[in-house]
């Protein structure tokens, strides 16, 4: 199967000198097109850091990240464009802007798309993904007025709005109850139907079992 995203001997070190912390040590990983991979490991094993490195939010100290076979370079502008074009992010704490409307939250990736869709297209695309996650009624609502599960669905809508190639989800169900957690995972995994891939960092066996493959990372 064709590899869409790969990490090759990736290490990530935070700080320097005596405060230096090695968050990820020499990890290699590849994800195929349309595959859902669960990334499991104990707390502090570097799951979130690896997700950030793979999602081009953070730079690896050593090793390289490959997207569709091409190594990602160091140019900041290019990395930002690739981050926008290839990835959708879902976080444990939802990472949505509380005092902003649902529409504006979901629209953010479209604002940085290249080429940037016009206002009407942005609105229409936002409405479509909100319908997909069952939140079209909340378009003009303030994000802070929504329940936890609804907030996570807003985050998922934002992750999907740009038609990403890979969705990177960091403990997406950790703050949710069992039923909502199940619904959220169904939504995240539904992206596979469009040929996109999913990488989920999780502690939850039930979440991991719904993926095609489980990758374990040691501390």
């Amino acid at each position: 199967m064709e590899t869409v995203l790969a990490a090759c001997n990736v290490s990530k070190i935070y700080g320097n000198g005596r405060t230096q912390v090695m968050a990820v040590r020499n990890v290699s990983l590849s994800i195929a097109v349309g595959e859902a991979v669960a990334l499991m490991g104990p707390s502090g094993s570097g799951k979130s850091t690896l997700l950030k490195v793979l999602g081009l939010v953070s730079r690896p100290t050593e090793g390289g990240v490959f997207i569709q076979g091409a190594e990602v370079g160091g140019d900041e502008r290019r990395r930002a464009q690739m981050r926008n074009k290839f990835f959708g992010f879902v976080h444990q704490d939802f990472a949505i802007i509380e005092n902003e409307t649902v529409e504006r939250n979901v629209m953010i990736p479209l604002e940085y798309a290249n080429p940037r869709p016009n206002r009407q297209m942005r609105r229409s695309r936002t409405r479509i993904v909100l319908e997909q996650v069952g939140l079209d009624w909340a378009l003009k609502k303030n994000a802070s007025q929504l329940s936890m599960g609804e907030r996570q669905r807003v985050a998922i809508a934002r992750a999907l709005v740009n038609d990403p190639v890979v969705v990177l989800a960091d403990e997406p169900t950790a703050a949710l109850d069992g039923v909502t957690s199940n619904e959220v995972m169904t939504l995240i995994l539904s992206i596979k139907e469009r040929g996109a891939s999913v990488l989920v960092a999780t502690h939850d066996d039930r979440v991991a079992k719904r993926c095609n493959r489980i990758v374990r990372i040691e501390r």
């Binding site: 953070s58 930002a80 464009q81 949505i96 005092n99 953010i108 940085y112």
Partner: protein, 358 residues
Amino acid sequence: MRELWNGFIIALRRWPTMLALTGMIAVACIVLSLALSDVLSQVAVLRGGKQLRERHAVIFTPYYPHGTHSSVGDDTVQYLADMIDRQEAYTVIVNNMGIDDPDFAEGQTVLVLFGNVLPELFPEIQLCDPAPCAMRGAKLADQNIASVSFAGEDISVVKTLPVGATFFDPNAAGLPLDHRIVIRAPTKALRLLQPIEREEALTRAVIFNRACEVVDAYVSGCAQGELFLVPHDVATDQPQRFRELMMASAMYIVGMLGFLTLVLAAFISSARLTMRQENRTFKIREMCGATAMHISLQIGGFLATVVLVLPIALLSLLVLIGGPFAVGALWVMLAVVFTFIFLWFMSVRNVRNQDQIR
């Protein structure tokens, strides 16, 4: 432009907090402008005092043993005029010029200066030169006063003094000139003054670098006309009054500078706190494809909305209105812009350094 607008939207999202913060900053800036204008005039006082000390100036205080009116003879007045012409002295009339003539200088308060040494001694006032000539205070700029009739001569009003101009009077500290007509009079006019004007001119004489005999001769000459003057050498005697004056000025400056520093520190910490609260927004946008430039512009737009727009608008208004506070407002405006640049730089650095969405 879009990112600057996004920055504005971030500020708008928390409008009650931001409005309170920007209001506080604007009020602090206005207070600073007012305080700074005072500090600047007090600095002029200190600088004037230093000039006098360096020139070993002798000043006089009057002593009235019987409460009688003085009538100092022309020879003593001429003695002072000669010293003024040789740039060894100067004198001023602050209070008593034309008090019997309500139409004098069209009813405006005047300050009369005698002495060619004055422009060199107080360069910050930017006195007209050569004498005779007259100037109007900044607050009288729109008054149509073309000339002043003084000692039988029409003296043209040739310029407007800088806003907040302050004359150093060793007996009365800083004398604001914004509402005064300042006349640089020729020394020959000294002899033509009314008795009360003449008495003030003789009393306020400041003599430089002179031997005791010169001062004695002057004091004796005045005493013969029933004007009893007590000389004080500014450099060596440091009369208590003068020292207290200087001490008060120095204390005021230190106090005000301390206040300015405190307000500035409060302002910076409030803005930094707000930036920390908004850090999450910037990180989310970065995650969604914003570059460092986008984030910097957004932070700039946000900070400009909170710390720049309202304070600069109000300060510009103060500058446009003019008056003694305009100079202070200009300085505060400069400080606000520098603080904005500093905050912008620090905020961008902090956001860039934080790896987590919090």
